[in-house]
Symmetry: C2
């Protein structure tokens, strides 16, 4: 051995985490029969398994919620359990904030806080919590394997057997990833299930990775987040959808893609079997999707447009429809969907050629954000797909069409499309001089403004005025001019110069509807393959069962 | 329903893949007892399960190889089974090429072809195969969920039980991802295992996802790819390692990182407990790693530098050492490593602040490649970490230090460091006017040159001359001047201008060793915490057991 060994050999113990786990598991042993605990023992179980300051994952996904566990956590005595460091991808339930208000948790790393974003901002202002960082979903999971290793994870699943094997049903979502990050670092994995059964329909997560299972008094909470009622799609949505189909999908030959959630993209989905069909595009565009099971995609699926869909999560009401379409969706032996957020994010980042999403606000450089004043909404998953993945190396026709760099060293580019009406509901302009996100970031003490999609990653912007092919613009000034050309009479659009716009049109950097063969007059709701929820149900042959709040017919 | 429904309702069947699977499973039923097949039936089994033109995954990982299955495949009768479309992440065995030479396979999507890259180039020139695309590992997996859905997957694992549950041991690598992509699309998953046992040490993949298991006559092949003998580390490696530690890790406060494989990074690892310790940096840098278990990291681990390591795969000989250090490595209930390429790539992309790798060739714009003439080597995994992940949103101190963009819309940046000696062995310059990759791409008909790391993603270049802080350069010209300043007497370096270099040094855009407090005279092998393989074994307390080819003491 070298004489330079600088640190004297210590008798270091290398199994502290394992010993700590054993100690805690012994503490809760009285409440366990094998791996099974009883829901009435939940408080004692949590107090036995936790210690103040622990780093804890609470499953809070985009859709499903370990709500029995989060509620029980929020009711603990903060004199015993306090200052937890909470990792939660989607902070979406009232008790998630109560945990901080009561002092049970102190530090927060999260990705999305939609429904609780106002209360979160308030709690932050009141000094009730410290934010580690605001992530996208996959970043937060990535750090669970690096420097945010969990001590305890609280998950939810549909069923477990007595060995702790889990069946998640269609909403597998983030559970396997969190379980893997925790279980293989000698963390403790506790799962609430809707039911404990003798035999599972299929195994989604091996029982080997699970320490404690308990049947919750009622099924875990889940919200239909990806359902858009076609009734709310208007002519502007339809016009923009036509522009996208002709000016982007047809033009660039987009076969693999991801759609964000919104009425703009729902309109595209509903125009494929009508407008798209009339253009002879079936089989030529929109074949392979990274997408949650949007009900508005049913008509396109039924019309033979879709070859495959891989899902981040599922969607309430779509279970039977998906189960009857295994050639399209990833399904298990039991027939139901297998979703997986990490793998679908991977597919959405590296495996498809286009991302398209709606935005509420965009600045003159095409930076955009859905953040509104006073809220800390987080990022969710959009940034992971709404950027040019510079680690990509495989070529496709669409990717190569946006070739950039100087020969001989060049690379293609992912299409990142942003859709916005120039004015939002209530006459608020969508194109602004400064994003609200800048102010939110400043006031909340964030190190950088919470921009959802950065302008330099955006290749196309679509408004009811036309399409800005930003990737074709040469230099910053031309790029801004192209964007202004489609920004209407908003503050950004008013700076547009007609002579410049004509030059950009001739260069193909800007296109108005007529330039891509779209007539605004044709933009009618008659083009929608389904005009309401009942139509979607009919398209599905009765297999789609909308949740009560969408049963408006 | 809308009257515009364009496509007449067909009586489409939506379960073709499932029916096809059943049909094929029935064909091989005579060879199965439950899920277990016998190795002597392999030819009949393969002929029963496959059809001409199938899309097939062959596990071919970075490390472990389903060699019994690939050999059996390559011996089939090409009159019966031909024109397969092969997805293989690492094309590394002779029979992988034989499959194309014999006409059994026709189309190839792959990520890496190191050992077979010459034969691959030849087979391509001979018109024996068609390349779908050359990917990085995770891109290829991503596409398995989108448009390259597998019909059959051939995998390998350490053990299976009679229900098909799999134990992978430390080299989990890509198996769970491929199994998930295949099993949930009604594909057929066939696994060769070293042993069939009654009870598994742990479950890595649920048997539910597996169709056929067979015990192969001998254990699957695996190579030690991440072992670097400290004996081969020279003073130049050590000098560059000192530059990295002082001028990058210390300066930017790098706590989470990924090291590529090479003698440069091995030198850094071996300098932490000596040089790093003398600088008082323990606990301040290099705590959390996304990294295969490099034996050269043992001294740093033993000296208390390392908090955690998450691994893509494992490394032959490191099994017992890892099992004895569960506070550092992700391990299962059985004590052995759990690796996972996709999750570690995710962590390496989104969860760490720095990537550093060695390169053999770099052009004046800092584009680099390890491709050499006549070879089609592919990309492997480096590009997924060696780029600025623009989908990242969470901030860290190191990321924020490289802030870019115009206020108020800015973002930080990942540190992407490339290390190169200005001249390679044999006097070949590393800095060149045109990368060999450009010529290889042209001759092989690739749509773009196979660049490993693009210059615009690189933030720092380190040579024995000094460090170019490329991220600080303003404009292309200054960037090139900064790189030329450290490129020695290579064609690129000869264009350097002394006055400009002085200006860049004063601005901190270029640093020579003395500028960061490094003395070339101190760069001695005495600084290595281990100078040979025997030292590494001793540091490990005898737990590390180097493979035979490294037992040179």
């Amino acid at each position: 051995m070298s004489s330079e060994r600088a640190v004297p050999a210590e008798q270091r113990v290398w199994t502290l985490r394992r010993a700590e786990k054993q100690r805690r598991m012994q503490r809760i042993a009285p409440f366990l029969a094998g791996k099974i605990a009883q829901s009435e023992d939940i408080a004692a179980l949590l107090e036995g398994v936790l210690e103040a300051g622990d780093r804890v994952v609470l499953e809070g996904d985009n859709q499903k919620q370990a709500d029995f566990l989060s509620t029980a956590l929020s009711e603990l005595d903060p004199r015993r359990i306090h200052d937890l460091h909470l990792l939660i991808s989607s902070l979406s339930r009232p008790e998630h904030i109560s945990l901080f208000e009561r002092g049970i948790a102190r530090k927060l790393d999260f990705a999305f806080a939609g429904p609780q974003s106002l209360r979160l901002a308030q709690a932050l202002e009141d000094g009730l919590l410290e934010i580690g960082a605001i992530h996208t979903y996959v970043e937060l999971y990535a750090r669970m394997f690096i420097d945010l290793v969990p001590r305890v994870a609280f998950l939810c699943a549909d069923c477990a057997d007595r060995n702790g094997n889990l069946y998640t049903g269609p909403n597998t979502e983030d559970s396997p990833t969190i379980a893997e990050a925790t279980a293989f670092r000698d963390g403790i994995v506790i799962v609430q299930v809707n039911e404990i059964v003798d035999e599972l329909p299929r195994v989604d997560i091996p029982g080997d990775w699970i320490d404690v299972v308990l049947q919750s008094p009622k099924p875990y909470a889940i919200e239909p987040l990806f359902t858009r009622d076609p009734r709310q799609i208007n002519e502007l949505h339809i016009l923009m959808a036509m522009l996208v189909i002709r000016g982007i999908y047809e033009r660039h030959g987009i076969t693999s893609l991801n759609h964000g959630i919104g009425f703009d993209t729902a309109a595209i989905e509903l125009l494929l079997p009508t407008y798209g069909e009339s253009l002879g595009l079936r089989g030529k565009i929109c074949r392979n999707w990274a997408l949650n099971p949007h009900p508005t995609l049913i008509p396109a699926i039924e019309s033979g447009w879709v070859e495959s869909i891989h899902c981040f999560g599922s969607e309430v009401g779509m279970e039977s429809y998906i189960a009857a379409r295994p050639d399209i969706f990833a399904t298990g032996r039991d027939g139901s969907l297998r979703s997986n957020r990490v793998l679908c994010q991977l597919a959405g980042q590296y495996g498809v050629d286009l991302f398209i999403g709606s935005t509420l606000q965009m600045d003159a450089d095409a930076n955009s954000s859905t953040v509104t004043r006073g809220r800390i909404a987080g990022f969710g998953g959009a940034p992971n797909m709404g950027h040019d993945p510079r680690g990509r190396r495989h070529a496709s026709a669409a990717w190569l069409e946006l070739l950039r760099g100087q020969a001989p060293v060049q690379r293609g580019r992912k299409l990142v499309v942003q859709v916005a009406e120039t004015f939002q509901y209530g006459g608020v302009p969508a194109f602004v001089d400064e994003l609200d996100a800048v102010d939110v970031g400043r006031k909340s003490g964030m190190p950088v403004a919470p921009v959802m999609i950065y302008g330099d990653d955006v290749t196309h912007v679509v408004t009811e005025q036309g399409i800005a092919y930003l990737y074709k613009a040469e230099g910053e000034e031309e790029r801004r001019a192209a964007l202004a050309a489609v920004a209407g009479v908003s503050p950004v659009g008013l700076r547009s110069n007609p002579a410049m716009v004509e030059r950009l049109r001739r260069a193909g950097t800007v296109a108005f509807p007529a330039d891509v063969g779209v007539s605004s007059l044709e933009a009618s709701r008659k083009l929608l393959a389904a005009r309401n929820m009942a139509d979607l149900v009919e398209w599905s042959g009765g297999l789609y069962r909308p949740p009560a709040k969408f049963r408006n017919w």
